[in-house]
Subunit: 577 residues, 2 copies
């Protein structure tokens, strides 16, 4: 039960504001989250860690010397939007690039990824670390496809310490992945949690049973077992992870240990469990290094706990035990850190709405005006098909695809117009339009279209005109970004089902004819056909939303809207040439 709220919809935002008010020596609230309130060394990579709210102290509680540089804070259990991530990263970045860290969830992958695209378009180096420690969520072979749960703490702690010790972005990325690959977690839930304003918990665990392999967003476990004693629970957690003890630690070794309470399993209970764990660790020759027992990655008031082990080598251990000083995580030898009060306050913070428009060369300005015409064309096409796209989406989705596309394209057109008025070149126009599309549309397709426009912008320049190969590259970049961010493959019944055939056909036709308009038109036909196959399948599936068979996937009207827009683009290019 969440007792203390003013308004359910403002809850996460108010929590961030209150958090920042309580910790001014550590953090400052910016659009979308918090960044350190103290200055960071010029050229130091910025560790930007985040995810949804409801997991405190993850993630905002870990911003400070020795750990994070900023934390975008999404809504409860929802990824921060790309614009939130971008805003926080812009404020945190100080010339050394950005290491983004988040738990491996689709929404986070998408929104952090879209923000990364935009930062990269500005020339900022961005590396992405997806924490994937939950052994219950996927096989050992697919370790990096697992979910991220309490392993967030050691991975970000180690990455932050490496950066504090002087790692550059390359090295910080390497150490963070190394930490992630050495980290395993396993959890249990005894009861669900309740979203602010909701009357009922997201789920219940039947009395006398426990859900094995819980998630931290109120996902119930993957199977139920009869409730055990504290020692049996300790054994279950330990034995689960013990199956994955790496070669290096089979006959003993040093491990970071985190026994994490999800919210309502309290400290004394965790210590009773830890007593047994200490015996099991000793029995396996594993020496716990600065073990942590408490609440680190919570899930509102969920009743549950998880065990995390990090199989340490010398490098990881030195970073695990290094000093850190953040609102919710502090550890000594403290003399290794400069006291906060001796660090000057951070002077430059990014404020959204004041995005810079670099001076552009005249040819690029002309192209920008032309691209604005494309955006307006898109807006018109979508408006014409909005209702139809909504109906298609409603067959197997939530019916908001048409509305989202309409809001997104409208936002992009408005942002494009403002950018043009300020003399934007082609690249800047598309980056601004992409940001606005994602922000206005929200949701998955909004983030993907936003990233697509941003990535397209990266193929263009503010300093020169673009020839047809450059324009084609922009289109290929856009499809690439969608594929990389969305993580879908052709056949998954997503926009990619149309976009990939489009992309392949475009490259082939243009290679043959060197006629961009013809190539786009021809590729759009292939996209159309692929999209219709998707639509046919959608229709055949009827209203059955949970299909059970992975091969069918969840149909997506994105393929339809993609092919419609490419068809319009081909026609426009034909008319103009």
């Amino acid at each position: 039960m969440t007792y203390l709220i003013n308004s359910a919809s403002d809850f996460a935002h108010e929590a961030v504001q209150g958090f920042a008010a309580a910790n001014p020596q550590y953090v400052t609230a910016v659009h979308g989250g918090v960044v350190r309130s103290t200055e960071t060394p010029k050229g130091q990579p910025a560790l930007v860690i985040g995810g949804g709210s409801g997991h405190y102290p993850a993630f905002a509680g870990w911003v400070g010397p020795g750990m994070g540089h900023g934390a975008p804070c999404g809504n409860i259990f929802s990824s921060p939007s790309a614009s939130q991530v971008y805003s926080v990263a812009k404020s945190a970045e100080n010339g050394g690039g950005v290491v983004m860290g988040f738990g491996n969830y689709a929404g986070d992958v998408l929104h952090f990824g879209a923000a990364a695209e935009k930062l990269r378009a500005e020339g900022i180096d961005v590396r992405i670390i997806k924490v994937s420690d939950d052994i219950a969520s996927n096989s050992l072979e697919d370790h990096r496809d697992r979910r991220g749960i309490a392993g967030d703490l050691p991975v970000f702690k180690i990455a932050g310490a490496a950066i504090e010790a002087g790692a550059d972005i390359e090295d910080a990325e390497r150490v963070a992945w190394k930490a992630n690959d050495a980290t395993r977690s396993f959890g249990l839930a005894f009861d669900g949690c309740t979203l602010p304003g909701a009357e009922e918990p997201l789920f219940h665990v039947e009395e006398g049973t426990m859900g094995v392999g819980l998630g931290i967003h109120g996902e119930p476990g993957v199977k139920d077992l009869p409730m055990g004693t504290a020692s049996q629970v300790a054994d279950l957690l330990f034995d689960g992870i013990a199956e994955e003890i790496p070669e290096s630690h089979r006959s003993g070794g040093r491990v970071a240990v985190l026994l994490n309470g999800l919210g309502t399993v309290k400290y004394e209970e965790l210590f009773v469990v830890y007593g047994r764990l200490a015996e099991r660790l000793e029995g396996s020759g594993l020496t716990p290094v600065q073990p942590e027992v408490g609440e680190f990655v919570t899930s509102l008031d969920m009743a549950g706990l998880s065990l995390t082990l990090v199989f340490l080598d010398e490098e990881l251990e030195s970073h695990w035990t290094a000093p850190v000083d953040t609102p919710a995580y502090r550890r000594g030898d403290f003399s290794g850190l400069t006291p906060l009060k001796e660090i000057p306050a951070r002077a430059e913070l990014f404020t959204p709405g004041e995005e810079s428009v670099p001076a552009a060369q005249q040819e690029s300005e002309k192209l920008a005006a032309d691209l604005q015409g494309v955006l307006e064309l898109f807006e018109g096409v979508i408006a014409e098909h909005e209702a139809e796209l909504g109906r298609i989406d409603a067959i197997a989705g939530d019916g908001d695809h048409g509305q989202g596309m309409a809001l997104g394209s409208r936002g992009a057109v408005e942002a494009g117009r403002r950018a043009l008025e300020r003399g934007a070149g082609a690249r800047t126009l598309l980056v601004h339009a992409g940001t606005a599309w994602a922000e206005s549309a929200g949701g998955t397709s909004g983030a993907l279209w936003g990233a697509a426009l941003t990535a397209a912008g990266r193929a263009l320049s503010d300093d020169s005109a673009a020839d047809d190969p450059a324009k084609m590259q922009a289109l290929l970049n856009a499809v690439d970004a969608v594929r990389r961010l969305g993580g879908a493959e052709p056949g998954d019944k997503t926009m990619i089902d149309a976009a990939v055939p489009f992309s392949q056909a475009l490259e082939a036709r243009f290679g043959e004819s060197q006629d961009l308009a013809a190539a786009v038109t021809s590729a759009a036909v292939e996209a159309q056909q692929a999209a219709e196959k998707t639509a046919d399948l959608t229709a055949r599936l009827g209203r059955s939303r949970v299909l059970g068979e992975k091969s069918l996937g969840t149909p997506d009207p994105g393929a339809i809207s993609f092919s419609l827009l490419m068809e319009a683009l081909g026609q426009r290019l034909g008319q103009k040439s």
Copy 2:
């Protein structure tokens, strides 16, 4: 709900063991609790803080440089026993005396007090700080009679910092009381907590309401109000404390702020509340100094929160913001503390059962043998009356008085025998016997009789015989200890109803006659009459356990057993003289 237990009766003990296992760099488990695992400077006062378990991080989580030196850990929501407190204090003490800190509850007052008696009998200086911050539990005039809740944190933090900064015991005591007198807390509960192994919470708060003025042992609030929004709750808490803003802060000033979650109100909710509090503080000209928002003094899984303000002056602020490094509470400028790894491990720890028996002078050994005879006499008298004392107790109590007295006297006789075998003098014999009585009997009367024997021992010496005035002083000391520790006054229907008339008569008769046997016998008659008045009253009251009128109190068979034992003592003295 408490989910993770092995055995309800071992829960608190297992939690302490697991806690110590997880935090070896900070603490070592000893009998009754934990002490710092690192050495403390010779001559530094030891801050021994404690209370029941179920409040983590209070109190064990606060043991480390800059805060506590040791923490006795009682059962869930129960005071540690006097022997637990004594054991922890013995291990923590390092030549500078002991400052005991605990929340102001009857059980803690009694058991810490009894342990203090014993330590003082050994020549150790002990000061006692009873935290009394809960404004809902008593009037402002009787501030020091209020309960202790989350104010424990700032009071112990400030006392620990003062000691770290070099305060001697006198000064540490002064600063601690000053901190307590500047601290105000006010709390709300939304639902109760469940003891380990129990099926049902200790209480429920009706849905849609909140209990105002909660306790931290599952006590419900003193009144119910309709549930408010987060901001209304913040206002209620702030306005409650604002009524007691001291003169020094009426037009503004600096305050330590603690917004404490009781267990199930989670962090994001607390931050939403803090956001409003920050506005209210500002509106009153109060500047928060390093505010703390989180879980500090919990009550298992109780749903509730409390606000604590400490009205700071320069001295209190310097200690509030000083560095501290404990398992659950760490704060910088960390460079002000010696890193833990550079502090040597604590070498000498006290182990109960190996209490020292100092060499005794022969006359004192003879007296000790004689006193052992008195203990055996007491054991016999109690055995004879055990059933009757139980019956009297059952009229208005829980019927265990006879059994408790029997267990206590038997334990005392056994401990006395072992001490005699090791050559104990009179003082040591009584101190050992007192400890054993309290330990074996448990409960209130056990603690009081234990303290009485210990205090009697302080009037005697291991180095010399005792004349009659010294023996009389021993009896007066015993009654004094009972009165001081129990806090009862004549007429409250406790052992004091008999003991105080006895004490007064003893001093008067001995002054007249200089005949101890006659004086004791005569005083015992007065005690007997006083006890019978109590018993008459008990009988008249019948079985009505909750009497409603304070003047009647709760009758206590302790007065009966006291007078029986004194009568037997008088007879024995008469036979021997």
